[in-house]
């Protein structure tokens, strides 16, 4: 088990390998479909982003609302592939990690190598369990997007698995190599 603190530095990222189990302590920024569209539009328009991407991790999540007395509602990962078209531009600006679930495009996997960044998965649908590791939540931007607004989460030992490392390793491909008994597609 690897313990990581945010913001991530290049050495810590480079040391990660597909399949590593990691506990993250520090901050994560939430963003999913609509927030990504706005972030990339802002970049294209030459505007400042609502947070500095350098060394940060984006968590693809749209949490459910917090019940009274709780920090946040359920907060498991959403499918990452939908963010693929926006991701290389964010990695180019210094984003170091992403947390979601499911496969990334070839372009994103290449960008991870080029910019020395990492893609993690959290367990999809284990949202009530994952929420236990989130100890703080504040709004950063795009409140009008509701569950899709950007929030800064404070997390303690938030459990993830490295899917794509910065050297081209891919846990999903590795899993299929090990367990597939089916013929080629």
């Amino acid at each position: 088990m690897v313990e990581l603190k945010t913001p991530l530095d290049d050495r810590a990222v480079a040391a990660l390998s597909a399949g590593d189990r990691v506990l993250i302590t520090g901050h994560l920024y939430t963003a999913r479909d609509a927030a990504h569209e706005r972030l990339v539009k802002a970049l294209e328009a030459g505007q400042r982003l609502p947070f500095d991407l350098a060394g940060q991790i984006i968590y693809y999540v749209g949490p459910s609302p917090a019940k009274p007395g709780r920090v946040i509602g359920s907060a498991g990962p959403t499918t990452s592939g939908r963010m693929d078209p926006y991701t290389p531009a964010l990695l180019e600006r210094g984003l170091k990690g992403m947390i979601g679930k499911g496969s990334r495009s070839a372009a994103v996997r290449e960008a991870l190598k080029k910019y020395n960044a990492v893609y993690f998965a959290a367990v999809g649908g284990a949202a009530a369990l994952i929420t236990k590791c989130i100890v703080g939540c504040e709004l950063v931007a795009y409140e009008d997007l509701g569950p899709e607004a950007i929030r800064r989460l404070r997390v303690e030992r938030f459990p993830v698995v490295v899917i794509n490392d910065a050297r081209g390793g891919d846990l999903y491909e590795e899993g299929l190599r090990q367990y597939s008994q089916a013929g080629p597609a």
Partner: protein, 280 residues
């Protein structure tokens, strides 16, 4: 005629939206426990253990088991001896969804326009499927459907010559292409026959059958077994980390179809296989 006030349907839908999202069915829990035994991959077993723990926390603490509390898919079976009074039945269903999702702290995941994409703020409108059936009761089923698994679903109009093998190849290919995206282990609903839209609805309805219960027709049950075996040879495993349990169950529903057609629809559901029902 038995009069049923639609406010009773509103109350039922409100309650069912909450319970479906917080309480995973005993059939799914049993399937997950069985998967824990049959899964060879250590990473896969760890995931399944976490899903069981997640279900316990959701039930005991009243948290949604998944943050994607879904679009509210509502099946209404209205007895033909029922007269609905007190308002518009679809408005009553939507009011129940509004109360359940707002009052129950469930996520609002509906956008008003598929291209403009502004959140409606209360998770309405519901997707409502109504059937008129014999009797004097109204059966209400709420099946919240998450977007990640729904996006992996597919429909193809096969031709009669494609036959059973063609159906199998298509269904398995849909699950293969979905890979880790729909939060495996998945539950697969298959609609076979009918027309284009009937096949899709059958696939959704197939997801309502309890896990562990095969189709009563032995030939369809055999197809379900074959599909489950082939899907679990794919090696995708829990969360796509590699393993034996890619699907917990496959349910197939069939219907008559045109002499030229063999429609097949595959509705993929995640392990958060939610539905709850009430009779009014």
């Amino acid at each position: 005629m038995r009069e049923v006030d639609v406010s009773l349907v509103t109350a039922a839908v409100d309650k069912l939206c909450r319970s479906a999202n917080e309480v995973l069915g005993e059939d799914v829990l049993q399937a997950l426990r069985a998967a824990l035994d049959s899964e060879e991959s250590p990473a896969g077993r760890e995931v399944i253990g976490q899903l069981l723990e997640n279900a316990r926390i959701a039930r005991e603490e009243g948290e949604p088991m998944c943050q994607d509390t879904g679009l509210a898919v509502v099946f209404l079976e209205v007895g033909q001896e029922v007269r609905l009074v007190g308002g518009d039945i679809e408005a009553a269903v939507n009011e129940g969804v509004r109360r359940g999702y707002v009052g129950g702290f469930l996520r609002k995941s509906a956008v008003k326009d598929p291209l403009d994409r502004k959140n409606t703020g209360d998770n309405t409108p519901a997707i409502i499927h109504t059937r008129i059936v014999p009797g004097d009761r109204v059966r209400v089923v709420v099946a919240p459907k998450g977007g990640g698994a729904e996006n992996m679903s597919a429909l193809r109009m096969l031709t009669p010559a494609d036959g059973r093998d063609g159906v199998k190849a298509f269904v398995v290919d849909v699950v293969r292409r979905a890979g880790p995206n729909p939060c495996p282990p998945v539950v697969v609903g298959v609609g076979l026959g009918g027309t284009f839209e009937k096949a899709a609805l059958l696939a959704k309805e197939a997801l309502l059958r309890p896990l562990g219960q095969h189709h009563p027709d032995p030939a369809v049950a055999a197809l379900e077994r074959d599909l489950l075996t082939e899907i679990n040879r794919l090696g995708i495993g829990p969360q796509g980390f590699g393993g034996r349990v890619t699907a917990l169950w496959v349910s197939v529903l069939t219907y008559a179809c045109h002499i030229a057609s063999l429609p097949v629809a595959v509705n993929v559901n995640c392990h958060a296989h939610r539905h709850a029902e009430a009779v009014v």
